[in-house]
């Protein structure tokens, strides 16, 4: 609780105590007690509402008439004059209690949201002249070395020059598994070092570091306002003056009309001061309800909560407007490589020839040895799958046959590894490989042994992601890729995507995108998901551009509207869920706040609702709406 809140709470409690005394005194017989109670009521009013009255007067001096201070002052002073002392004080008290809760709730939500984004490093241990110095992260220059101890947050992006460790990337990606890092690896700021001491060469200044970029992005996200927010701002502009005018009319017109009617009819009860007081009371009740605060606070708060909740899961949304638009997604266009597949090649299958006397392990070993001299990505994935050290003394005479494969002598035997053409040149009949991907046939001493299939791996959660999107009501899921048709269709088939455009050049992707944008309905939104590499124009063209694996890729963070920090396509459906939930909360708040206000306005006009109900309609509703808005934060 802040100092200001504590002070206000004390005033409220003191005022309440004096009010109780006043009410007790009023209940006692005798003239003296009547005066005493009046003085006590007045004292309670000053304690509780003094600030409000003061602000109202000061603001009128500034030319601001219709603010809530003025309205509350007018309503309660009016109640005093009409003779409802307890009500005047109680209404002011209740209003202050409500305001207090409102500030408390806003403070609390501010705190929980900032805690959520608590990735800002406080200091950096920089190595200067052989000793460690603790400085602000923005004082470290590029090329300097920093030391990060276990439990500390990495303050700047860089490359590890000494030490190995595992990093907690939770705050950035929402991923709970620690990430292993070795000497020479690039690391990003915002991660927490879990084990060893790391010495890191700084490659980016603080302002360009990942952590600054992310913080900037999240903080400025709520300034891009959603349609619902703009609607509320506009609404608030008209609501208050209209209600105030209604209140004025309500105070004057009905009694006047009654007077005229009475004047025409001699038998009727004459319009007395009491009738006027009754209508003025109803008008004052109107004034209390005229502040649009519940809406004005709770709607942006809901969006902010949604943005915060999403960023906790590693989904950075660049604006409330995008969060709102995600719920209207109609079609999703996905890039294949890097989005649905890992974009790295790995051994996916080992097939031995039926008549060859060779195990799968042996086949892989031979292939790995044969390719061990090559730098090609294919040979790297073979070596990775083999996983053991290569004993180079077993290899003689390695020779690369450009475009076709390699020819080496392993353990004194001639080994050929490569494509079908290489096998045919050696008069060897390879097995026909039906699967898509890159095939490496292996032959040893003139005998065909089998083949190894190397393919881009589909991400573990890709199929689940497509299912979840379909379940979320996405009507059209399209895959775009520059890859070969067979590979594309194979991947799409396994994931359950029916619409595929393959063999596209980067320019073709934009054209396809244009076509798809034309075909979709006017209200529905089209999402594009890519890995941010080479697809910036497509990201920009879509209604919402989503970049995957934002860690370390500046281009992606710049070009996209939504950045998914992890490599999981399933986060897309999650982002849509968060969007739906946030909008549900926003709608609930709008309907609830407006519903209660209009209801109480009608009841007040009819003379049924008291000023109590009006205060509830104002601050009570605001507090409930804020509490509801806070749900958006919890994913």
């Amino acid at each position: 609780m802040t100092k200001k809140l504590k002070k206000r709470l004390k005033k409220i409690l003191a005022g309440a105590a004096v009010l109780v005394c006043a009410v007790l005194a009023a209940g006692l017989p005798g003239e003296l007690y009547r005066y005493a109670s009046f003085v006590l009521f007045l004292a309670a009013y000053v304690i509780v509402g003094g600030d409000v009255v003061k602000n109202a007067i000061v603001n009128i001096g500034h030319g601001q008439v219709f603010d809530e201070n003025f309205l509350m002052t007018l309503a309660t002073v009016g109640a005093f004059f009409v003779g409802d002392y307890p009500e005047a004080v109680a209404v002011m008290l209740f209003y202050q209690v409500g305001e207090w809760f409102q500030s408390y709730a806003v403070n609390k939500s501010r705190k929980s949201i900032t805690e959520l984004m608590d990735i800002r490093p406080d200091y950096a241990n920089v190595l200067r002249d052989g000793s460690e110095e603790t400085v602000e992260p923005d004082e470290v220059a590029m090329g300097e070395h920093i030391v990060v101890k276990p439990g500390e947050r990495i303050p700047l992006d860089g490359i590890i020059r000494r030490g190995n460790s595992s990093l907690d990337t939770m705050a950035l990606t929402g991923e709970s598994m620690p990430r292993e890092v070795l000497c020479g690896d690039e690391v990003i700021s915002g991660c927490v070092n879990l084990q060893g001491v790391l010495e890191i060469e700084v490659t980016k200044e603080f302002g360009d570091s990942t952590v600054s970029k992310i913080l900037n992005l999240v903080e400025s996200a709520s300034s891009r306002k959603a349609e619902a927010e703009n609607f509320i701002t506009k609404f608030a502009r008209y609501y208050t003056p209209i209600v105030v005018v209604c209140a004025a009319l309500l105070a004057v017109l009905p009694p006047l009309v009654l007077s005229v009617l009475v004047g025409q009819n001699a038998q009727a009860v004459p319009v007395t001061g009491a009738v006027w007081a009754d209508w003025i009371y109803r008008a004052l009740t109107f004034l209390v309800i005229s502040c649009p605060c519940a809406l004005v606070i709770s709607i942006p708060l809901s969006f902010f909560g949604g943005l915060g909740g999403a960023s906790r899961e590693g989904i950075l949304i660049k604006g409330s407007n995008y969060l709102e638009a995600l719920a209207e997604a109609e079609s999703v266009v996905m890039d294949k490589t890097g989005t649905l597949t890992r974009g790295t090649f790995a051994v996916s299958q080992i097939v031995t020839a039926p008549d060859a006397d060779c195990t799968k392990e042996k086949l892989l070993e031979l292939a790995a040895y044969a390719e061990s001299y090559s730098n090609h990505p294919i040979s790297k994935s073979l070596l990775a799958a083999y996983g053991k050290e290569i004993d180079s003394s077993r290899i003689e005479r390695a020779e690369e046959i450009a475009g076709n494969g390699v020819h080496v002598c392993v353990d004194g035997k001639e080994v050929y590894a490569g494509n079908t053409r290489l096998m045919e040149e050696q008069q060897i009949q390879p097995l026909p490989a039906r699967e898509t991907g890159t095939v490496v046939h292996v032959a040893c001493a003139g005998c065909y042994l089998g083949y190894i299939l190397i393919a881009d791996e589909i991400k573990e959660d890709a199929a689940e992601a497509v299912q979840a999107l379909k379940a979320a009501g996405i009507r059209q899921i399209v895959m775009l890729t520059g890859d070969r048709k067979e590979t594309a269709e194979d991947v799409a088939g396994r994931l359950g995507i029916t619409e595929v455009y393959a063999e596209l050049l980067p320019g073709d992707k934009v054209d396809r995108m244009e076509e798809l944008m034309q075909k979709k309905s006017a209200k529905g939104k089209l999402l594009f998901v890519g890995d941010g590499i080479n697809d910036a124009p497509v990201l920009a063209r879509a209604d919402i551009g989503i970049a995957m694996g934002g860690l370390g890729s500046d281009a992606a963070i710049e070009a996209a509207d939504v950045v998914i920090m992890t490599d999981e396509p399933s986060k897309l459906a999650r982002a849509m869920q968060i969007s739906h939930k946030t909008l549900r909360i926003v709608k609930q708040n709008i309907v609830f706040a407006l519903g209660v206000k209009i209801l109480v306005l009608l009841l007040a006009a009819a003379g049924i609702a008291s000023m109590w109900a009006a205060v509830f309609a104002d601050v009570g509703v605001a507090v409930i709406a804020i509490l509801n808005a806070m749900r958006a934060l919890k994913a």
């Binding site: 802040t2 200001k4 602000n55 000061v58 603001n59 500034h62 601001q64 809530e68 409102q102 500030s103 806003v106 939500s109 501010r110 949201i113 900032t114 903080e219 400025s220 709520s222 300034s223 701002t233 608030a236 502040c291 649009p292 605060c293 004005v296 606070i297 942006p300 708060l301 902010f304």
Partner: protein
């Protein structure tokens, strides 16, 4: 040039909107956003007019919500 101010104890969202509108209209201010939740006021303005603008921002804030303290960042 971009400049950020912190509006400490900004409690009323409606006032935040009013401050935003008033500051946007100041001479030399190209763009102004007030974010209620982060209590930040960010302006894009002509550099040489910034001292004058800062003075005016303080007076606007004082008029709209007297409890708020403006801190330059």
């Amino acid at each position: 040039m971009k400049k950020t101010y912190i509006l400490e104890d900004l409690d009323c969202a409606h006032c935040a909107a009013k401050i935003e509108t008033a500051v946007s209209r100041l001479d030399g201010v190209e763009k102004c956003t007030v974010t209620f939740l982060t209590q930040k006021l960010v302006i894009e303005a002509e550099e040489e007019k910034i001292p004058q603008i800062t003075k005016e921002i303080k007076s606007i804030v004082k008029k709209t919500e007297p409890d708020v303290t403006v801190i330059e960042k």
